[in-house]
């Protein structure tokens, strides 16, 4: 997550300077050809695994040995197998992933907004320390704490079954915890950019902070809220490690853990089906990123720039 936000801050710098000075330097023809060569090679490197996996997904023989770039008799067989395979309940995994990620996104946005609002609009003792603590906490990857998280839910599950291993609620909580800090900072930055005069005058008119939060700030921040929700959703959807630590049964797996199963069991025979599943599973995220690329970047830079 922090990686993405880093991109966004440099993108912000880039956009600032782009406007400042568009002076093109002299270019010679040889330079341009060299550039195009780099482009072709880079694109080839980026796309060749993708093209290969698309081809494999349509190859009915389905095993790794029989790969060809253009399969002899392309068909949708792998996709059919994927959707009807009782040993690998693909659709179940998709549903699990969507469930976990969207619940995480909704709960995440709510708690992120509440905290961000307080940081942005109130001045209280210990506010600065809390914000610093939030940053500091992000330093240690949650991944390092999987043993303790495993223990926590193994113990809690003995008293509250829904909070035990192999359940989805602990996964949601874990994802919330890992993503919260940096998103609160982003959201707070965006809230700061909403002029305070609006809520000051509402306060004078007798509105409570809850009313200001829901009636004024919430509608104004809607684009940012959507983006934060999407970022949380995408990160949760892609997560693999914590899910594989916490989930034990195939029927409870999220998609990423499930796809890994194809590979760890009998890779070369499952190759075609895995290809189909991987493509279907990756598609929503790739599409989200590609279509919202500009909005995500634009929204975040707006939030990152202090008002």
């Amino acid at each position: 997550m922090s990686k993405l936000s880093d991109v966004l801050t440099t993108e912000a710098a880039q956009q600032k300077t782009k406007k400042a000075k568009p002076s093109p330097r002299r270019r010679n023809r040889r330079g341009l050809i060299l550039r195009l060569l780099v482009a072709v090679l880079a694109i080839a490197f980026a796309l060749f695994p993708i093209i290969w996996i698309i081809s494999a997904s349509f190859n009915p023989t389905g095993s790794l040995a029989s790969q060809k770039l253009i399969p002899d008799n392309a068909s949708l067989e792998n996709y059919q197998t994927l959707l009807n395979d009782p040993i690998h309940p693909f659709l179940r995994w998709v549903v699990n992933s969507l469930k976990v990620s969207s619940i995480t996104a909704v709960l995440g946005v709510i708690s992120i907004m509440l905290s961000a609002y307080s940081f942005s609009r109130f001045r209280f003792k210990g506010r600065r320390q809390l914000m610093l603590a939030l940053l500091l906490i992000q330093v240690f990857p949650t991944l390092l704490m999987f043993v303790a998280i495993f223990y926590l839910f193994q113990q809690l599950g003995q008293y509250i079954p829904a909070m035990g291993l192999n359940q989805h609620a602990p996964l949601v909580l874990t994802y919330l915890g890992t993503q919260m800090g940096i998103q609160i900072w982003l959201m707070k930055g965006f809230f700061d950019s909403i002029p305070r005069d609006i809520d000051e005058s509402a306060l004078v008119d007798g509105a409570s902070h809850w009313q200001i939060f829901w009636r004024l700030i919430f509608p104004l921040a809607r684009p940012m809220i959507v983006i934060v929700a999407l970022l949380v959703f995408i990160a949760s959807y892609q997560e693999f490690v914590l899910a594989s630590v916490l989930l034990k049964d195939k029927s409870q797996y999220t998609l990423m853990v499930g796809l890994y199963l194809f590979v760890s069991e009998n890779f070369s025979n499952n190759w075609g089906v895995f290809a189909a599943g991987g493509l279907l599973g990756a598609l929503p995220i790739v599409v989200l990123y590609q279509t919202l690329q500009d909005q995500i970047i634009g929204g975040l830079t707006a939030g990152a720039v202090k008002g």
Binding site: W52, F122, R123, L144, Y159
Partner: protein, 535 residues
């Protein structure tokens, strides 16, 4: 702006406001009461079982919610309840607990607290020789559950089911009226089994325990059912567990976390005890443990460093190539180049795992065709490492391209013009102007990327699960393992059982390294200053 807490409450008239606030206040109190009741129940059970490490964060969260809701002064902090609760549970507790458990023997067989282990042992029952027996009649539900109707020597009767043992009369509850022998003819949801049918189901009933301790019975033979007796009892005075069946005493050994008899026999399950620096001693002074640790440590550093170097080099090259408005179709090219970055990482790694498969993958097969030889990406330590670096390059360079193209455009053009006047060629310009200026702005991100790759489990593990294996290590270790995947395998894949405490000890080492690196990064960015300015 200081917030006047009174001002933002309801406002139509003083009375309205009062009743409004009163209603809300009562609601809040009610909510807190319910929450506290649940929380205290949970705390009570956790503490009773000696699971106090988990009780602490629960207590902290409960206190947080209560204090913030009851003190009007803390109204601004109240907004942090959801985030605060989650951070306590998911970040702070695991951090503290990781440090704590590194000094214990937390591992398979030592998962429970002492109290939990004792109550687990006390659940154990056995069939004593002699003693009372009951005659029995069996009933079976369509789902295959059994219920037993028992008649004792004095004619008293009981109903025994899987989880219950009750003193009931015919005609009560699910039990139907008695037949001429005094045995219920039918039972709701169950079918009475005839003598012949019972023989058929006898194997299913063998060893099945009915009821809960201490009222637990087991079928002995066709004619009798006998009560089971608790096998182990805990004697507080001796701090020992007594085996009633074998008449043996197992004394608690707080050094190893087991109940041990005088002959040295251990009772399963053991329990968790403090064992000081033992895990760290193993790590640093036992050569069997230290050997693989040091090799993996070296590869972790090399992997992180080379990953940053290769991804940055390629990303920068591509960024420079496109940092020119004359290149046609820049937006489309950028979208295409971003695909590896937008693809969920694990899927990317798994695709590459197929592409590099030595017998069947495209890359080795093609190379075999062209030059008659293909690198053994799966089996040779060095080639497996190269394979991983290639994969990580593919996954990581779009990110480097994004950040360096941003930073490139922030470098003012005048500097190049001045350099050109001084006669610097473009190669010199790159080394003396572009790269240093670029490193200033992306340097911190490179360190962050190093830290990220230092723990990049999601690339290492799905590719080969750390293979090829190292020979003769006490815990599973492989040539492509980095510290975090090594830790994971110790915790969750141990051949001789999971060793969570040892994994936690290594985690602390990783913690320290990450902390130092991050400190360096902050020195670099002076991010703290930024933070204090913007707050």
């Amino acid at each position: 702006m200081t917030v006047d807490v009174q001002r933002h409450r309801g406002s139509k008239g003083p009375l309205d406001a009062l009743s409004n606030n009163l209603g809300r206040y009562v609601l809040v109190l009610l909510g807190l009461a319910v929450l506290d009741a649940l929380g205290i129940w949970l705390l009570y059970r956790l503490l009773r079982d000696g699971a106090w490490p988990v009780a602490l964060p629960i207590l902290a969260i409960l206190l947080l919610i209560n204090i913030l809701n009851l003190s009007p002064k803390l109204f601004p902090v109240r907004w942090h309840i959801p985030a605060g609760a989650i951070v306590i549970l998911i970040i702070i507790f695991p951090m503290v607990y990781t440090f704590y458990s590194a000094f214990t023997n937390y591992s398979d067989g030592h998962i429970l607290s002492k109290q939990q282990a004792i109550s687990r042992l006390e659940q154990d029952t056995y069939l004593p020789e002699g003693g009372t027996t009951y005659s029995w009649t069996a009933y079976r539900s369509p789902e295959g559950e059994f219920a037993l109707w028992l008649v004792g020597p004095e004619g008293e009767d009981y109903l025994a089911m899987r989880d219950s043992f009750e003193d009931v009369e015919p005609g009560e509850g699910i039990v139907g009226p008695a037949d001429e022998e005094g045995i219920p003819a039918e039972m709701e949801g169950y079918e009475r089994l005839s003598r012949v049918e019972v023989i058929k189901f006898l194997p299913d009933l063998d060893g099945v325990k009915f009821g809960q301790p201490p009222d637990q019975v087991q079928v002995v033979d066709l004619n009798s059912v006998a009560p089971l007796v608790q096998r182990y009892t805990y004697d507080e005075e001796q701090d020992a567990v007594i085996d009633q069946r074998e008449d043996m005493v197992y004394y608690a050994d707080e050094e190893v976390g087991f109940f041990i008899s005088e002959e040295g026999e251990q009772l399963q399950p053991g329990y968790m005890v403090w064992n000081g620096l033992y895990n760290f001693q193993r790590l640093f002074s036992s050569s069997a443990f230290r050997g693989p640790f040091l090799r993996i440590f070296a590869w972790t550093i090399a992997f992180a460093f080379l990953s940053v170097l290769t991804t940055f080099a390629l990303g920068l090259l591509v960024a420079i190539a496109f940092n020119d408005p004359l290149v046609p179709g820049r937006k489309i090219i950028r979208s295409l180049l971003l695909i590896p970055y937008t693809l969920p990482g694990i899927i990317g790694v798994l695709i590459w795992r197929g592409l590099l498969n030595p017998h069947l993958g495209v890359v080795p097969l093609t190379l075999e065709n062209w030059i008659g030889w293909a690198p053994p990406f799966y089996t040779h330590p060095m080639w497996a490492k190269i394979g991983i670096l290639i994969i990580n390059l593919w996954l990581g360079y779009p990110y480097m391209m994004l950040i360096s193209s941003g930073a490139l455009q922030a470098i003012p053009e005048d500097i190049y013009d001045a350099a050109a006047v001084d006669g610097a060629n473009s190669w010199q310009q790159f080394w003396n102007i572009t790269l240093p200026l670029l490193l200033v702005s992306v340097g911190p991100l490179l360190i962050a990327s190093f830290v990220f790759n230092f723990n990049n489990f999601a690339v290492i593990y799905p590719f080969l699960e750390g293979r090829p294996p190292m020979a003769g290590t006490p815990t599973p270790a492989g040539h492509t393992d980095i510290l975090i995947s090594y830790t994971y395998r110790i915790a969750f894949e141990g051949g001789r059982g999971s060793d969570y405490a040892y994994a936690a000890a290594i985690t602390i080492v990783i913690f320290v390294i990450v902390a130092v690196l991050t400190l360096i990064q902050y020195q670099f960015t002076r991010r703290w200053e930024e933070v204090s300015e913007s707050v």
